[in-house]
């Protein structure tokens, strides 16, 4: 199963969702945000190196807090050297070693975001309860339709109050899961660990577990 977590704009918590989802699913998470990488990045080969043909994909798999991670480089030079179309081959190679792959895609609608969706069995769109973020989610949904990628779930992230998202679910054509704004999530992200590792019995950890369960059932 290849699941791509994407968003129409940055700053909505896409990487947080991808990382915690991978932890819950027991998946390897690939930081495919080639120009704005955010997942923990241990020393060693990364996705830039793999996409530039300088390393093999299995050399770039690291373990961070019991989560298998393929980190991405942060340099402009690495970005320039990376060939985004190779991502499809690289991810398919990963599926030989891992049953489940979560891709943290770039925000937006450029080709690198498109390739991360193209290779997926299903997509998760992350957004926030703000007008620009929802507009970005709708634009991203158009890309998934163009590429014929099923949308498994929409995550309305960092909510501060209960809301009714039925209209959004109808527009995007997928159930909406809400995840509340949480200091525990921010603290876990700062520490580079899944929230389930620092607050396993918390409501927020339960939400990520529930999201993962729902996706497993849907796929």
């Amino acid at each position: 199963m290849i699941l791509t977590v994407t968003a129409g704009k940055g700053g909505v918590g896409k990487t947080t969702v991808a990382y915690n989802l991978a932890a819950e699913l027991g998946a390897v998470v690939v930081d495919a945000d080639l120009g704005m990488a955010d997942l923990p990045a241990p020393a060693g080969p990364d996705l830039h190196d793999v996409l530039a043909g300088r390393a093999r994909i299995m050399e770039a798999v690291h373990t961070v807090s019991n989560v298998a991670v393929v980190p991405c480089g942060r340099s402009v030079a690495g970005l320039r050297a990376a060939e985004p179309t190779r991502l499809a081959t690289v991810v398919n190679k990963l599926t030989e070693a891992f049953d489940r792959v979560v891709i943290d895609a770039p925000a937006g609608m450029h080709g690198d975001a498109g390739v991360a969706l193209f290779v997926a069995d299903a997509a998760v769109i992350v957004t926030r309860p703000s007008r620009p973020a929802v507009a970005g989610a709708i634009r991203t949904r158009e890309v998934t339709r163009l590429l014929d990628v099923p949308l498994a779930r929409v995550v309305m992230n960092r909510t501060s109050a209960p809301g009714n998202y039925e209209a959004l679910a109808a527009t995007l054509g997928a159930p909406v899961t809400t995840i509340a704004e949480s200091e525990r999530v921010r603290a876990a992200q700062r520490a580079g660990v899944p929230v389930g590792a620092v607050a396993p019995d918390s409501d927020i950890a339960d939400r990520f577990e529930s999201l993962a369960d729902g996706l497993e059932r849907a796929l």
Partner: protein, 179 residues
């Protein structure tokens, strides 16, 4: 039945080839240029969809003309290209890309411009010659090599972004063939 017409302009040492394919029914056609190398039009730094080396694959609608153009440094030949395959298609494609390269061609590449990456010379000046290993491996010694190392050929007279179409020293050849 598909037919091919061609027209060649000479601009200095460059041949600008224009091909027009027509068919009485919708067909997927494959053309092969006998003039090589082919410099196809580029969009966002990549050959436009359909080109693979000297071959072009496209769909011509019934009763319409499919126009294909490219440049080449080769001397004009007669014909400059041939129709090597014609397959009838019942339903036109919905236009969705079906390869990673097609996705990038459709949506556009998000890579930084070449100028955004400092050359080794610039790095040497800034660091007294101590160039970080990763930078050295990613960037050969000058900008031309950077271009070649990343697999993007230099832009040519056929570059669609620039619409370069020299007017001098032109000659014309016009022919038709049918398959």
């Amino acid at each position: 039945m598909a037919s091919l017409e061609w027209h060649i302009d000479r601009a200095g040492a460059i041949s600008l080839v224009q091909l027009a394919v027509t068919s009485d029914r919708t067909a997927r056609i494959t053309l092969e240029s006998s003039l090589t190398p082919v410099w196809p039009p580029r969009r966002r730094g990549r050959p436009i969809p359909g080109w693979d080396g000297a071959k072009y694959v496209g769909t011509v609608d019934a009763g319409q003309r499919l126009l294909v153009g490219y440049a080449t440094p080769a001397t004009p030949a007669d014909p400059p290209a041939t129709l090597i395959k014609t397959e009838p298609v019942d339903n036109a494609s919905d236009g969705a890309p079906n390869t990673p390269t097609g996705v990038v061609q459709t949506l556009g590449a998000a890579r930084p411009a070449r100028d955004a990456v400092p050359s080794d010379q610039a790095l040497s000046g800034a660091t007294d010659g101590r160039v970080p290993p990763v930078e050295r491996s990613a960037h050969p010694s000058n900008s031309t090599d950077v271009t070649q190392s990343t697999g993007e050929p230099l832009r040519t007279a056929a570059d669609a972004d620039h619409g370069c179409h020299p007017q001098s020293e032109r000659s014309t050849i016009r022919q038709t063939s049918r398959t």
